[in-house]
Symmetry: C2
Subunit: 410 residues, 2 copies
C-alpha cells in the first residue's frame, strides 16, 4: 500500500489544475491508496494541512471541472526551504510528517523555484537514506524552464495573449485614419520574452498583427523606441505595441523602474514589476503628441481558463500522469519534460530529465537568432515554435452564463 | 428604388457589428437597392467615404464573421455636428452628399452622442423638407441610454466582466490564508455603474464573488474605503474589489483625479479617466500594509468578442433589423429600443421610441434602490436584471487557434 502527496507551487496558470488532475488520475490508476493534496504547497505540508483528493475527485465530473478551473486548486506558496546545512530542522520536519502519514511519493507541480524544492528534498532523502521519492512536474506561463521544449501553462497564456491582442488591434483601429492612436500592451515575463513574443500570433490575413514587439532579451533604448514609433506613424495611424514587463535599458535598468525606484521584492528576491506600458505611453504622448493607451494584461493572462488551449491542457494533464507514473516507479529528483519530435505535424514525447540540478534556478530565454532586432519583431522560426501550442479549444462547462469552477471547501 | 446608408459612432463594442449585420440583412430583404456603409461615421460621410456593403456581405459567411468581429467594422468617430444655427453649411453638405448618391435613409448605430446626431439631422430634414429619414440603433457598453431596458453591447461586456472577475478571484485566492492579497479591479463607466455592477454576477455556489463594489452613483469616501477593507481582511485574506473608473468623492472629485489633475478632455468634453485602481491600491498598501494588485480591464471589456453573450448578439442583430425596417417605412427621428416584458422567463419586445429628443444626452444611472450602500454591494433586483443579458455563448470561428474576424480592405 503506497500513498502519494501532490502540491502546487509558484504563480498559478490556467492549466496547472490539469496537471493535478493528471497526477490524481494516474496515481489512482497505478494503485496508490491515498492521494493527498498539500494545501498551499510545502508551507501547508509543514503544518500538516492536506486533504484526501478522493473527497473531491472520486466524482469524475469534478475532475472535468478541475481541468477547467484556473489558479491553483490546492493553493500555492513561495516558500523557500533554504539550504540543507542551515535549515536541517525544516527538512527533518518534512520527512517526519511524510513518515507519520505513510507517504511514499511527493510530486511538486511548479516552475524553477519549485524544482529547487524537489531537488533539495530529493538530495536530502538520498543523503539521509529516507524512503520517499520526489518528482517535479513543470509549470510556468513564463516558459523559462530549461530542458523542456515548453512548459504546461505557457500555451494557454499564448492563446489568451494572441486572441486578446487581435481584439485590441481591432478596437484600436476603430478611428481609421482619422486619429492616430497608440496602444502599448504590457505582457508578463520578468527576464524572458516568450509570452510577449506570442503577440506575433495575432497576425493573419485579416489582421495586421502588432506593429512592434519589445523583448527583455534585447536592450531597450527610449530614443530609438520613440523614433521607431514615429516611423510607424508615418505608415499607419493605428499602432499596437507589445512590450514585456521586464524590458531593460542598456545599463541594465528596468524601464518600469524609471518611474519609481521603490520596488518591492518578493521572498525569492524577484522585483515586482509594474507600469512599464504607462511609462512608455507617457513618453510617446509627450514626444509625439498622440493619443495613447496603456493596457496591462496583468493576472488575466495566467487565469483565463475560458481561453485555455486544448493542446496545452492535454499536455499539462499528460505531464501530471507521467509524474505519477515516475513516482510509482520510485524515481526521485527527476522532472517530467516535453521533447518536441516535430512541429509539422506537431508531435511531443513525454520524457524524464534525470539531473534536476541542471533545471532549478536556470532561466531559459528566447534564442537571439529567433528575434528580428532590426524590425522589433520576432522571426518566423519563433512563430512556428509557438503556433502548435495554442491549437484547439477547451469546451467550458457554463452555468448561468459563466464558466464553472471547482474550489476547496472551507 | 431606394438606397440606405448606415454608420457606426462612438466607442466600439463586442457586438456593434451584430447590429450592422442586422441592418444589412433586413435592408436587403426589404428591397433597398444599395446599402452603403459610411467609413468612420458622419466624418467619413462628409468626405464621401463610404462603401457598398454587398462587396463584403453578399457572401453569407462574411456576415457570420462580421457578427463575431469586435470594434466597429466601418470605423467610428466622435464628430459632433454642432447646432443647426451655427453649422448650417455642414448640414447642407450632408444632404447634398445624400442626394448626390440617391440615399433615402440613414441609420446610425451608437450611444447618447450618436442619438444627438440622428436627432439633429432629422430635425433639419423636417425643417427643410428634405426627403431623407434618420433612425437610431442603440449601442453602448455603458448601458446609460434612457428609455431602452438595456443596450446592445452591454450584455457581452457584463459576460466578460463576470467571467474575468471569477477568474481573477480564483487567481487571487491562490495563497489561501498564508498571505493577505487585495486585487482592485477597475471597470469602465464614467457616470453610471452598470458595468461595474456586473461584477456581482461572478458569485455562485463555487465562488464567493467580489467582496465589495464601488459605484459612481454613491459618493466615495477614502477613509470609509480603508476601514471597510480592513474589516474584510479580518474575515478573509483574499479580497477582490470592483471599482468604477468614475467613482467620485463627496465633493464631486474623481478619485482618479486625486493623482493627477492634468486630464485630457475628448471632443465631447468627457474627461479621460484612468488610474483609479492604482490610487486605491497605493492607499491600501500604505494604510494596511498588504500586498495589492491593480487590474484595469481597459478596452478588453468592450472588445472581447470571444466571450460575447449570445443573447446580446441576437439583440444587437434584431435592433439592427428593426432599424432597417423603420427606415424602410420612412420613419424619422426615432430610435429602436428594447422593452423587457418579463425577466423570468426573459422576454424582450423591440419597440420604437418616437421622441429622440428625450434620449440624446441623457445618462441613465443605476436606480439607488438597487444599490446596497451599507454593504458596498448591489441588491438582488440588480442581479436579476443583469443575469438574462449574459446567457448563451457565441460559437467562434477559429483559425489556427484564434477567433477569426473580418476587416475593411485598405
Amino acid at each position: 500500500m503506497k500513498n502519494l502527496i501532490v502540491g502546487q507551487s509558484g504563480g498559478p496558470t490556467s492549466v496547472i489544475n490539469g496537471s493535478l488532475a493528471g497526477v490524481y488520475y494516474e496515481a489512482k490508476k497505478k494503485g496508490f491508496d491515498k492521494v493527498y493534496g498539500m494545501v498551499n504547497g510545502i508551507e501547508g505540508l509543514l503544518q500538516e494541512h492536506f486533504i484526501d483528493l478522493d473527497e473531491y475527485f472520486a466524482d469524475k465530473n469534478n475532475l472535468e471541472l478541475l481541468k477547467r478551473t484556473p489558479s491553483s486548486f490546492l493553493g500555492t506558496c513561495r516558500f523557500k526551504l533554504g539550504s540543507i546545512k542551515e535549515h536541517e530542522e525544516t527538512y527533518e520536519k518534512v520527512f517526519k510528517i511524510l513518515d507519520k502519514h505513510s507517504i511514499d511519493s511527493f510530486i511538486y507541480i511548479g516552475g524553477n523555484d519549485s524544482m529547487d524544492t524537489v531537488e533539495s528534498l530529493s538530495d536530502y532523502a538520498k543523503e539521509k537514506k529516507k524512503k520517499q521519492n520526489f518528482i517535479g512536474v513543470p509549470k510556468t506561463i513564463d516558459n523559462d524552464l530549461p530542458i523542456t521544449d515548453h512548459c504546461p501553462g505557457f500555451g494557454s497564456a499564448c492563446k489568451y495573449i494572441a486572441t486578446t491582442l487581435r481584439e485590441v488591434i481591432q478596437d484600436n483601429n476603430c478611428y481609421g485614419n482619422t486619429k492616430p492612436t497608440i496602444a502599448v500592451v504590457e505582457i508578463m515575463g520578468r527576464h524572458a520574452g516568450w509570452l510577449t513574443s506570442a503577440s506575433a500570433l495575432a497576425k493573419d490575413d485579416s489582421c495586421d498583427g502588432v506593429d512592434a514587439i519589445y523583448l527583455p532579451e534585447i536592450p531597450f533604448n527610449m530614443d530609438s523606441f520613440v523614433q521607431e514609433t514615429k516611423e510607424l506613424l508615418k505608415k499607419k495611424s493605428s499602432i499596437v505595441i507589445a512590450v514585456s514587463e521586464g524590458i531593460k535599458t542598456e545599463d541594465d535598468q528596468f524601464v518600469c523602474e524609471l518611474k519609481d525606484a521603490n520596488l518591492l521584492v518578493d521572498s525569492f528576491g524577484h522585483k515586482e514589476l509594474a507600469g512599464c506600458a504607462e511609462i512608455l505611453c507617457k513618453v510617446l504622448k509627450e514626444k509625439l503628441n498622440v493619443k495613447t493607451r496603456a493596457i496591462t494584461l496583468s493576472t488575466l493572462q495566467r487565469a483565463a481558463a475560458h481561453l485555455a488551449s486544448k493542446t496545452d491542457l492535454e499536455e499539462a494533464y499528460n505531464c501530471g500522469r507521467k509524474g505519477a507514473d515516475l513516482a510509482y516507479r520510485g524515481e526521485s529528483g527527476k522532472m517530467v519534460y516535453m521533447n518536441r519530435i516535430s512541429s509539422n505535424p506537431y508531435k511531443i514525447k513525454y520524457e524524464v530529465f534525470d539531473d534536476i540540478h541542471k533545471i532549478a534556478n536556470i532561466e531559459k530565454k528566447i534564442p537571439l537568432e529567433w528575434i528580428d532586432v532590426d524590425h522589433n519583431y520576432v522571426k518566423q522560426e519563433l512563430v512556428d515554435y509557438l503556433r502548435p501550442l495554442i491549437q484547439g479549444e477547451v469546451k467550458q462547462i457554463y452555468k448561468d452564463g459563466i464558466p464553472q469552477h471547482i474550489v476547496l471547501k472551507k
